[in-house]
C-alpha cells in the first residue's frame, strides 16, 4: 500500500530532478550577475567586500550609449514593423501573384541570421569600399551614396532581419481575424475606406502594438549587427559596450554587470507588458480559429505589390547571400573584379586551416550535444510544466521562460562570472558552452515540445495508466511515440540555434574551444573579409542542410498522421 508521499516516486524524482537542474541553470548565473552589479568593493576580490548601488548611479556617465541604444532600437523597430505589416497585408489580404511561395520565403531572412546580414551589408555599404558605393562612383556619383556604419545603417540591417519576425506575428494576427466582422460593416452600408478605419484598424492595432513591444525588446538586446557595423566607427550600444568593457584591460566588470542588469530589467518589464497586451488587448481577433481572410482584388496594382515583396526579399536574403558568395570567390573583394582576381583559395583555406576546422567540428559537436541533451531535458520540463500536476509547476514555467528576457550576452556574462570561481575547471572548455546553450535555449525547446504536447489528448496517457502501466512504461510506450514529431523538430531547432549562436559563445569560448559564429566575427576583425564571407557561407550551408531535414521530417510526419 502506498502512502501519499511515496506513491509517485519515480515520477516525482524525475520531475523535481529536472526542475532543480533548470532552476540552477537559470538562477545561478543571474545570481552572480546581480552580485557583480551591486559589488562596489575591490574588483579584484571575490566574493565582494562591499555592496551598494554606485555602479548603477555611475551608469549616468554612459548616457550617450543609452541614447545610441534607444536611437537604433526605435529606428529599427519602426522599420521592422513597416516591413512586417506591409508584407503581412500584401501576403494575407491581397491577390498578389505567387502568395504561397512568397510567404514561405519570408522565413529565410530569419534563418540567415543578422550577423550574416551585417557582414554582407558591410561589404555592400561601407563608404569607401562598399559595392553599392563602387557602382555609384562608376555611374559618375561623387563620394558615397550610403554609409552603413551609421546608426541608421545599423537599424536598417537589424530591421531587415527582425522584419521577418514582425511579419510572422502580424500575419498570424491578420489570419485570425474573422472576415465577417468586416463584411458586417459593409453590409450595413459603410464604404471600404470607412470599414478599414473603423473596423479593421481598431481590431489589429492591439496586436501590432504587442508586436512592436516584442520587437523593441529584441532590438534592445541585439548584439551582432551593432558589433559588426558599429565597432569600426566606435558607435556603441548597450550590448556592444558591455562586451567591450569585459574584453578590455582592465575589465570594468562591475559597471558591465550593472549595465547588463539594467538592460535585463528593462527587457523584463517590456516582455511583461507584451504578455499583458497580448492577453488583454487583442479582444476579438484571437479566437484560436484560423479564418480564410478576405482577399482584396487589387487589379494591376498586384504586380507593384509583387515588386515590393521581391524588393524586401532581395534586401534581406538574396542580395546578402549573393554578396557573400561574390566576395568569397575573390582574392580581394571589389565590385568590378578582373578575371585573375577570382579564386577558390578562400574555400581551400577554410577547409584546411586548423583553427577553422576545429571551430566547425566543435560547433557541430556542441550542436549535436545541445540538441540531444536539450530534447531530453526540455521534454521532461515540458511534461512537468504542462502535464504533471506536481505542485510548483507554475513556478518552473516562469524560471524556464526567464532566459527569454535576458540578452544572451548578459546571460553569458553571468555564467562566466559564476563558473570562473567554480571548483570544477570547466571555464574555457566546450562544457561551459554546452551549459550556456542548454540554458539560453530553454524557452525555445520547451515551447516547441509543449506545442505538440498540448495537442495530445490527455486521456491517451490516462488510459495507459488505467491499464496499469507505470509512469516509466507510459513514457516509453505512449508519450514518447506520440511526441516524436515535436521531439524531432525541437532537436533540429536546437541544432540550428546552436550552430548560429553568437552572444553567449563570444564571451565563453576559450582559446582551445573555438566555435563557428564567434570565429566568423574574429575573422572579420582580424583577417580578411573574403575568408569571413566564406565562413559565413559554410555556416549558412550547415544551417540550410538542417532546415531541409527539418522540413522533410515535418512533411513526412504530417503525411503519416493524415493517412
Amino acid at each position: 500500500m502506498g502512502s501519499m508521499g511515496s506513491s509517485f516516486s519515480i515520477q516525482k524524482i524525475a520531475g523535481y530532478g529536472v526542475a532543480a537542474i533548470a532552476a540552477v541553470l537559470v538562477l545561478y548565473p543571474v545570481y552572480f550577475l546581480l552580485q557583480a552589479a551591486f559589488d562596489v568593493g575591490d574588483p579584484q576580490v571575490r566574493p565582494p567586500t562591499a555592496y551598494g548601488v554606485d555602479n548603477f548611479s555611475g551608469l549616468l556617465q554612459y548616457a550617450q550609449i543609452m541614447f545610441n541604444t534607444l536611437t537604433v532600437s526605435l529606428a529599427a523597430t519602426v522599420m521592422a514593423l513597416v516591413f512586417g505589416s506591409v508584407m503581412a497585408w500584401i501576403l494575407t489580404r491581397t491577390n498578389v501573384p505567387g502568395r504561397n511561395v512568397l510567404e514561405q520565403l519570408m522565413v529565410v531572412p530569419y534563418y540567415l541570421t543578422p550577423l550574416l546580414g551585417a557582414l554582407a551589408w558591410s561589404l555592400l555599404g561601407q563608404p569607401e569600399s562598399g559595392f553599392i558605393n563602387g557602382i555609384w562612383r562608376a555611374l559618375g556619383g561623387r563620394g558615397h551614396l550610403i554609409d552603413i556604419n551609421t546608426p541608421y545603417g545599423i537599424a536598417w540591417v537589424m530591421a531587415l532581419f527582425e522584419g521577418s519576425v514582425a511579419f510572422v506575428m502580424i500575419a498570424a494576427l491578420m489570419k485570425s481575424m474573422d472576415p465577417s466582422l468586416e463584411e458586417a460593416s459593409q453590409v450595413i452600408g459603410a464604404s471600404r475606406i470607412r470599414t478599414i478605419i473603423r473596423i479593421t484598424l481598431p481590431l489589429v492595432i492591439p496586436g501590432i502594438l504587442g508586436a512592436a513591444i516584442f520587437v523593441f525588446a529584441e532590438m534592445l538586446g541585439s548584439f551582432a549587427v551593432a558589433l559588426v557595423l558599429g565597432l569600426p566607427s566606435r558607435y556603441y550600444v548597450i550590448t556592444t559596450a558591455i562586451y567591450q568593457m569585459i574584453q578590455q584591460y582592465p575589465p570594468k566588470i562591475q559597471v558591465a554587470a550593472a549595465m547588463g542588469a539594467s538592460l535585463f530589467a528593462v527587457m523584463f518589464v517590456m516582455l511583461y507588458v507584451y504578455r499583458r497586451v497580448v492577453i488583454s488587448g487583442s479582444y476579438v481577433t484571437i479566437t484560436g480559429k484560423a479564418f480564410r481572410p478576405r482577399q482584396l482584388d487589387v487589379g494591376r496594382l498586384r504586380y507593384v505589390l509583387l515588386g515590393v515583396c521581391l524588393l524586401y526579399l532581395s534586401a534581406a536574403a538574396l542580395l546578402p547571400l549573393a554578396t557573400l558568395l561574390f566576395a568569397s570567390l575573390q582574392k580581394i573583394a571589389v565590385i568590378f573584379p578582373t578575371a585573375e582576381n577570382f579564386t577558390l583559395d578562400n574555400f581551400r583555406t577554410a577547409m584546411t586551416m586548423n583553427a577553422v576546422r576545429s571551430a566547425i567540428s566543435n560547433s557541430l559537436l556542441l550542436a549535436f550535444g545541445t540538441a540531444s541533451i536539450g530534447v531530453l531535458l526540455m521534454g521532461l520540463l515540458a511534461w512537468l510544466i504542462y502535464r504533471s500536476r506536481l505542485p510548483g509547476s507554475g513556478l518552473i514555467e516562469y524560471i524556464v521562460m526567464f532566459p527569454q528576457a535576458v540578452p544572451r550576452l548578459v546571460f553569458a556574462f553571468g555564467l562566466m562570472w559564476a563558473w570562473v570561481i567554480f571548483p570544477i575547471p570547466i571555464y574555457g572548455t566546450l562544457w561551459l558552452l554546452l551549459i550556456a546553450y542548454l540554458t539560453v535555449f530553454l524557452p525555445l525547446g520547451v515551447r516547441t515540445i509543449a506545442g505538440v504536447m498540448l495537442q495530445i489528448d490527455k486521456s491517451l496517457e490516462e488510459c495507459a495508466q488505467m491499464c496499469g502501466a507505470s509512469w516509466a512504461y507510459r513514457v516509453r510506450t505512449v508519450i514518447v511515440p506520440l511526441l516524436r514529431p515535436g521531439l524531432v523538430a525541437a532537436w533540429l531547432l536546437l541544432f540550428i540555434a546552436s550552430v548560429r549562436e553568437l552572444g553567449a559563445s563570444i564571451l565563453l569560448m576559450g582559446p582551445h574551444s573555438k566555435v563557428l559564429t564567434p570565429s566568423i566575427v574574429e575573422s572579420w576583425f582580424g583577417t580578411s573579409s573574403e575568408l569571413t564571407a566564406t565562413l559565413a557561407l559554410i555556416q549558412t550551408l550547415v544551417v540550410a542542410l538542417a532546415i531541409i531535414v527539418l522540413v522533410a521530417v515535418t512533411r513526412r510526419v504530417t503525411a503519416q498522421t493524415l493517412d
Binding site: 488510459c463 488505467m466 496499469g468
Partner: protein
C-alpha cells in the same frame, strides 16, 4: 449523507465492491464535489447522472485515481485506495480498475491488436495468452476482422468497441465509464447502449457509469445516483428515480414533468392522497409516498 437508503437488491447480498464516503474535491478554492457517498455492489451497474458541471465525472475520476480528492475515503473490495485521514492515495495504475474514456483514447500509433493487448503486456502475460485473450475480446465486440488495422483508420463506433475491448481484456475488477456514448450519433448510441448492457451482464463485471443522458441511465443502470452541484440529489433504481422523484430538480431533470406548486390543504386530505390547492384555487390530489407534506409543496405530473 448516509449510504444509499434504498439498499442493494437481494441478489447482491455481499459486501460493496466500491465504497465512496464523504468525498469532497476542490480545485483551489472552487468546489467540484462537495460531499458524495454511495456504494456499488459486486456485479452491479451504478450510474452517476446529472447535468454538466455537477461533479459526476470528477467523482468517477477520483475513484479511478486520476484526480486527488481533498477529503473523504474510497474503498475497493474493502481496501482503502484513498483516505484523507489515513493519508492513503494509491496511484491509478495500482488500483486494479479499468476505464472507458469519453474520447475513446485509442492510441493512434498502434494497431487495434496492440491497443487491446496493452493492459496484458503491462501485466507480463505470455504471448500465446495475449493472442488468445485479445482475439476473444475483439470477438465479443465484433471487431475481429480489424485486428491489424491502424487505430486512425477506424470510425467512431469502431474506436468505441476497441476501447471497450481494451478496457475489459485484462479482467479488471471494476469498469469505469466516462460518458462513453456521448460522441456517437443517435442511432449508434441506441444500439451501443443495448450492446454495452448485454456485455456487462455477460462479463458480470461491476461498473460505475457516468452520463448526462437520461435515457441512457434509465436503460442501462441497476441503480442511479442523481447529482447536482457536487451533491447527491437522490439515489435509487431507475424506477424509483423516475416514478418517485424526491425533489423538484430530480422530477424536472428526469424527463419533462409538469410541476405544479401550491398550498397543502390537510383538511381535504383523503385516504392516503394529499390535497394541494393551486394559486387559482384548483384542487389536485397526489401521492406523498411516505414523505411529510409541508405547507408549500409541488406536485409532479407526468403523462406516461
Amino acid at each position: 449523507m448516509p449510504a444509499s437508503p434504498s439498499g442493494p437488491p437481494a441478489s447482491f447480498s455481499l459486501a460493496p465492491h466500491i465504497e465512496v464516503n464523504g468525498l469532497e474535491l476542490y480545485y483551489g478554492s472552487v468546489p467540484a464535489v462537495r460531499g458524495i457517498t454511495f456504494n456499488v455492489m459486486p456485479g452491479e451497474q451504478l450510474t452517476l447522472l446529472g447535468p454538466s458541471g455537477c461533479g459526476k465525472t470528477t467523482t468517477l475520476r477520483a475513484v479511478a485515481g486520476l484526480e486527488q480528492p481533498t477529503v473523504g475515503e474510497i474503498r475497493i473490495n474493502g481496501v482503502p485506495v484513498f483516505s484523507s485521514t489515513h493519508r492513503i492515495n494509491i496511484p491509478a495504475e495500482k488500483r486494479g480498475l479499468s476505464m472507458v474514456f469519453q474520447s475513446y483514447a485509442i492510441w493512434p500509433h498502434m494497431t487495434v491488436f496492440d491497443n487491446v493487448a496493452y493492459g496484458l503486456r503491462v501485466r507480463k502475460t505470455s504471448a500465446a495468452e495475449i493472442m488468445e485473450k485479445v482475439d476473444r475480446a475483439l470477438e465479443m465486440v465484433q471487431m475481429r476482422e480489424f485486428t491489424d488495422r491502424r487505430a486512425s483508420q477506424l470510425s467512431g463506433g469502431q474506436q468505441q468497441r476497441v476501447a471497450l475491448a481494451r478496457a475489459f481484456v485484462f479482467q479488471p475488477s471494476v469498469l469505469l465509464f466516462d460518458e462513453p456514448l456521448s460522441n456517437l450519433d443517435a442511432k449508434l448510441r441506441a444500439d451501443m447502449r443495448i450492446e454495452l448492457r448485454d456485455l456487462q451482464h455477460r462479463l458480470g463485471i461491476t461498473s460505475l457509469y457516468v452520463t448526462h443522458d437520461l435515457e441512457e441511465a434509465l436503460a442501462m443502470s441497476d441503480r442511479i445516483v442523481v447529482m447536482r452541484d457536487g451533491l447527491v440529489e437522490q439515489t435509487g433504481t431507475p424506477d424509483e428515480i423516475y416514478s418517485l422523484p424526491r425533489s423538484e430538480f430530480v422530477a424536472d431533470f428526469i424527463g419533462s414533468a409538469n410541476l405544479i406548486r401550491g398550498r397543502h390543504r390537510p383538511d381535504l386530505d383523503d385516504d392516503g392522497l394529499t390535497a394541494l390547492e393551486t394559486a387559482t384555487g384548483q384542487l389536485i390530489y397526489g401521492m406523498a409516498y411516505g414523505r411529510m407534506a409541508r405547507p408549500e409543496m409541488t406536485v409532479s405530473v407526468r403523462t406516461v
